[in-house]
């Protein structure tokens, strides 16, 4: 290794780099989804004892407040964006070849979306339909 030919000038990256193009910005939004996911989860866990004691029919409880509804709405938007980015990266992450041709990335992504639709339906059914699951 020889020394650089010149003193060398390497400008530092500004902390606002993620505002400099649309894809960097969307990347930051994707990273931020984790904050909303974890926040919603931990708040929900703190409310679980009250919920099993009937908090949803008590108008004074947190889970009956418009604040919880609004926060859940925002969280849902972020979590759905997370799901979109995560499922669409499946084909990038997983390379599978069993025969002469590898499985197309698009098919792997599609499989994730189908599994998601099924899981969503089944879980909603289990939690909302009174007759089963107990």
């Amino acid at each position: 290794m020889h020394a650089p030919l010149a003193p060398g000038y390497r400008p530092a990256l500004s902390n606002g780099w993620w505002l400099s193009n649309r894809r960097y910005f969307l990347y930051m939004v994707r990273e931020l989804t984790a904050v909303f996911a974890a926040l919603w989860a931990i708040i929900f866990v703190t409310q679980l004892p009250q919920i099993t004691a009937g908090a949803y029919s008590n108008p004074a409880s947190l889970v009956s407040s418009p604040l919880w509804f609004a926060f859940s709405l925002v969280s849902l938007a972020f979590v759905l964006y997370h799901a979109w980015t995560a499922f669409n990266a499946t084909g990038t992450l997983i390379y599978l070849r069993m025969g002469p041709k590898p499985i197309a990335g698009g098919s792997l992504n599609a499989a994730m979306f189908i599994a998601w639709a099924l899981a969503t339906f089944v879980i909603a059914f289990v939690f909302v339909t009174p007759a089963i699951g107990g």
Binding site: N15, W18, M28, E31, L32, T33, A34, V35, A37, A38, W40, A41, I42, F44, V45, T46, L48, P49, I51, T52, G54, A55, Y56, S57, V63, S64, S65, W68, F69, F71, S72, L73, S75, L76, V79, L80, H82, A83, A86, F87, M112, A115, W116, A119, T120, I123, A124, V126, F127, V128, P130, G133, G134
Partner: protein, 125 residues
């Protein structure tokens, strides 16, 4: 085999598990417990007395244990997913010093939240 100088695969494994959990299951959980029930789409009275007592409360049954294990899996991995992303997020925003301290703080917070969730689900609720 080969050796690497880091335990990152462990944290990345939890992170990826969380990525799947959040994508697959958090939307429907938020939809049900954050929007549908508080928004009145599901009658709260029937819900409180019938559903969650059955699914989470007493008496213990295989069904409610499964629901508890499911919720524990989703939430704990969500926390470790957050810890992983958040430490890189701080780095991206310019916090370049003290990376090890940031890592300890983030993963410790995730561990604390996980323990709290386990206690709530399996002892209290």
């Amino acid at each position: 085999m080969y050796k690497i100088n880091t335990n990152e695969p462990f944290w990345w494994g939890l992170f990826m598990g969380g990525a799947g959990m959040i994508g697959m299951f958090l939307p429907v959980l938020i939809l049900v417990f954050g929007l549908a029930i508080p928004g009145g789409a599901v009658p709260p009275a029937s819900y409180d007395t019938v559903r969650l007592i059955h699914l989470l409360g007493q008496p213990a049954s295989v069904g409610n244990l499964l629901v508890k294990v499911f919720l524990f899996g989703v939430f704990s991995l969500t926390f470790f997913h957050w810890a992983h992303r958040f430490r890189y997020l701080l780095f991206d925003l310019g916090l370049h010093g003290g990376r090890t301290a940031v890592e300890y703080l983030c993963y410790s917070a995730a561990l604390a939240a996980t323990i709290y969730t386990a206690v709530t689900l399996f002892v209290i609720a």
